[in-house]
Amino acid sequence: MKRYAYWLDEVGQGDLSLLGKKSANLGEMTRIGLKVPRGFAISLHAYEDFLKQTGLEGKIEKIVHCLEEEQQNIDQFISISEEIRYLIESCEMPDNISSDIVGHYRELSRRCGVADPAVSTRSSGPVSRPGQYETCLNVIGECDVLEKVKRVWASSFNPRSLAFRAGNRLPLASDPIGVAVIGMVNARSAGVLFTADPNTGDTSRIIVEANWGLGESVVSGEVTPDIYVLAKDGMKVASRTLGRKSRCVSLRQVGVAEEDVPDDRRSVFCLSDAELESLAEAGLILEKHFGAPQDVEWAIEENTPLPQSVIILQSRAAVLPAKKDTVDQVVDLMLKWL
């Protein structure tokens, strides 16, 4: 029988075209000894076969075909997006695909020693397109996992993705992506770490942005997080700026919810120096391994001692400002000074 799901600890960077970037990277990080949540990866073939076997492929082609004929506008993207996503999400997953996914979920349950472990389903495209696809958090139970895998697939037809593909002359009818199904971290604090200053491109510093709860509040940029700067030379905290941290995202029975941060938690830093140093070390390992400055999503697991509490959720090459010519930087300074 064709295989659709793979354990993260059996894959690596070489599996990028099979599983997508996120899954391949999670596998690679597991391989080099970083603590990554347990989980499995669903291949791009699952997406392709799902559309083929269910006959959705032809239907979608037809829908997008009429779009290509006419003048494209955002209202059309929205309406066909709704149509296609409904088709995908309401269509039952063929047995050969769903049984592999469910089999892995049951095995995950056994490995974690938890019935119906909470997971997140995350898109894993062959090229990184941050923010284009959907991520579902705190997914619990076989049925829900299958539903949320389809939702991630369907998100490749959300208006933003369609508009992006149309704008870049990519095929509209299909955009195969993998899905990473990984154990949910009960995060006390979480956020992002850059192994270079994303504003200046300064590679001598590590920048950490953090908030209470799950990392989504930091990634979405909706709150002002705590900001920490560490000097790579010496790996000590060089500066910390207390963020307002007005809201945070936390786990619910099912799913997640945004809530107010109590005043006494806003006024304190959500990371200790020891945690920061542990995080920074992981950041450097990643930067060294991937050979470029990294943009890392991480979480600190509640009620877990250091360093086991430091969990890496994702790492990708950091988008740094195009390094300006030094003379240009001098002129910038001069104009500011005058």
């Binding site: 200053d197 300064d202 003379v327 001098v330 002129v331 300074l333 001069m334 104009l335 005058l338």
Partner: protein
């Protein structure tokens, strides 16, 4: 109300209008002391501040259209013609492109301009068949007038424009670097020894020329005719030298030196002090000052200052955060070049053009005096260029005395007047200096630090500490009074004062900032200097023991 100064239409200071327009004007004591005469205002000074405007437009400076200038009692006051916010926005992108070549490779901009200037001077002489100083007397009145007009409107203008494009770029680069230094290290760079060391260890054309003269002086000191130089009368020395074979040989080489490098005078653009090439006796005073200097201090100091510079740069770079190091290094290199240029350009700009002006003006003065238009050839300095133009042909037909007399009287009165350092609202001075960094060449604000309990606080310094006997020297022609090992106290120094730097132990001046001559020269010679004290010559008396602390930029008077 208007303050008339020798019929200077447009230039007189109007304390209603001008303060409304500019807020504050700063006295340029570096160029304007002693007070200017009308010819200086109309020729050299006019083209200089034309140069600031030309440079401001050519480089599209975002914050200024160049300087404006007004006179009170013959003293020039300068301020900046500020741009509007809209102009600033429009000029910034052009400025960005224009300033880059100077930051990238300063010399690549300067070298061709320098060559072009030298060519211009040479052609001005050769096209008229002139070689020696006396040759100008052979020109007809018409040719002399045409030379004067070419000088006034073409040669001088060209020099002013080149001069200020370079000066503006230098000041912007050096000014920004000093600001970066302040921000990074929390210390005023102009009184920080590390800054001074990082800027030292560069020779320049003036040093090269002075070395040639020093070699001549040492040859004289070792010769059988050295006793001839003990005479007070420099003209007599020349006569005595001509009396012996070895003396004649020396004179021959001395004249060759003057013909090549003697195109300079003490007060460059004022045209009222003799050029070396004009009067061989005048240069003998420099020879006398150089004769006892057994070593050429620049050569001795150069190895040390280069080593110190390299060490200082290494040490300082280590203190710069890695992310800023690239920018710091580029700016440091450009600032070293700019600093070097500030000292070097005098030879190619001020000196040569000043001597050419002196040459033409002196000959016109001689003809006016001979033709009965004025009493003394030097009275020509009290005429405006247009008056000279109109009276030059037919020569001897216009009585210029009435114009000269009342202006000369005013000038003599002005000599006794102490200029106010600032007109208008002094609190705006820093903002004006900031919007036009070029102003800082001519103006200075002492950095007062009460906790040091000093008698004088400088605006800039060269490192080192020394205690010794002060000698106050107000003009370059009195420099021969300096005794070896004394400390020079002066209003300011220019390149004509360079010869004395090998003789003295320290320098204190009223004028000058981080880019000024005394600081740069003191740094090269390894002696302490405190510049820009404003009232050094007023507070210190010759013979007093003073302590010059160039590491902190302050001066203590030890006995009163």
């Amino acid at each position: 109300m208007l303050h008339p100064a020798y019929d200077l239409s447009f230039y007189e200071y109007d304390d209603d209008r001008d303060l409304k327009g500019y807020g504050v004007l700063l006295c340029d004591v570096v160029h304007g002391r002693p007070p200017m005469k009308p010819l200086y205002m109309g020729l050299g000074w006019y083209w200089y501040y034309h140069g600031t405007r030309y440079g401001a437009e050519m480089l599209s400076l975002p914050t200024t259209h160049g300087w404006d200038s007004r006179f009170v009692n013959g003293y020039p006051y300068i301020t900046t013609i500020r741009t509007t916010e809209e102009e600033k926005k429009a000029r910034e992108p052009i400025f960005r492109e224009k300033i880059k070549p100077f930051i990238e490779n300063f010399d690549a901009v300067w070298d061709p301009l320098k060559e072009d200037l030298l060519k211009t001077y040479k052609e001005a002489k050769e096209s008229r068949g002139l070689r020696e100083w006396q040759d100008i007397q052979k020109l007809s009145n018409v040719d002399l007038l045409s030379f004067f007009l070419d000088f006034a409107y073409i040669i001088n203008r060209k020099e002013g424009e080149v001069h200020f494009i370079m000066l503006i770029a230098s000041c912007y680069i050096a000014g920004l670097f000093q600001q970066m230094w302040r921000d990074l290290f929390g210390i005023e760079p102009s009184v920080d020894p590390a800054f001074s060391r990082a800027m030292g260890g560069f020779g320049n054309q003036i040093t090269e020329v002075t070395r040639i003269l020093w070699q001549l002086a040492r040859r004289a000191a070792a010769s059988d005719f050295r006793a001839v130089f003990e005479n007070e009368d420099n003209a007599q020395i020349l006569k005595d030298l001509a009396g012996t074979e070895s003396g004649r040989q020396w004179l021959h080489d001395y004249h060759a030196f003057l013909a090549e490098h003697g195109w300079r005078s003490d007060r460059m653009h004022a045209y009222d002090t003799p050029a070396l090439v004009e009067d061989p006796a005048y240069g003998i005073r420099e020879v006398k000052m150089l004769m006892p200097q057994e070593v050429f201090s620049w050569d001795v100091e150069l190895d040390r200052t280069i080593k110190e510079r390299e060490e200082a740069v290494r040490e300082v770079l280590g203190r710069v955060p890695e992310g800023q190091r690239g920018v710091f290094e580029v700016l440091l290199k450009a600032t070293q070049k700019a600093n070097y240029w500030i000292e070097d350009h005098t030879y190619y700009c001020d000196f040569y053009i000043g001597a050419l002006g002196r040459w033409i003006v002196t000959e016109l003065g001689r003809r006016f005096a001979a033709g009965g238009c004025i009493d003394d050839p030097e009275d020509i300095h009290f005429l405006h260029p247009n008056e000279i133009r109109k009276a030059a042909i037919p020569m001897g037909k216009i009585n210029l005395r009435p114009y000269v007399e009342r202006r000369k009287e005013a000038w003599e009165r002005n000599m006794t007047i102490e200029p106010a350092p600032v007109l208008g609202d002094g609190s705006q001075a820093q903002a004006v200096l900031r919007s036009d960094p070029t102003l800082s060449v001519s103006t200075q604000i002492p950095i007062v630090r009460e906790e040091l309990k000093a008698d004088l606080y400088g605006a800039a310094a060269a490192p080192g500490c020394v205690e010794g006997v002060a000698r106050v020297v107000m003009t370059a022609d009195r420099l021969t009074e300096m005794k070896p090992g004394e400390i020079l106290v002066a209003p300011g120094t220019t390149t004509t004062w360079t010869v004395v730097f090998g003789l003295i132990k320290g320098v204190v001046t009223d004028g000058g900032g981080a880019l000024s001559h005394p600081v740069i020269m003191a740094r090269q010679c390894g002696i302490p200097c405190v510049a820009g004290c404003l009232e050094a010559t007023a507070k210190i008396r010759t013979g007093q023991r003073i302590r010059v602390d160039g590491d902190r930029g302050v001066v203590y008077i030890m006995d009163r």
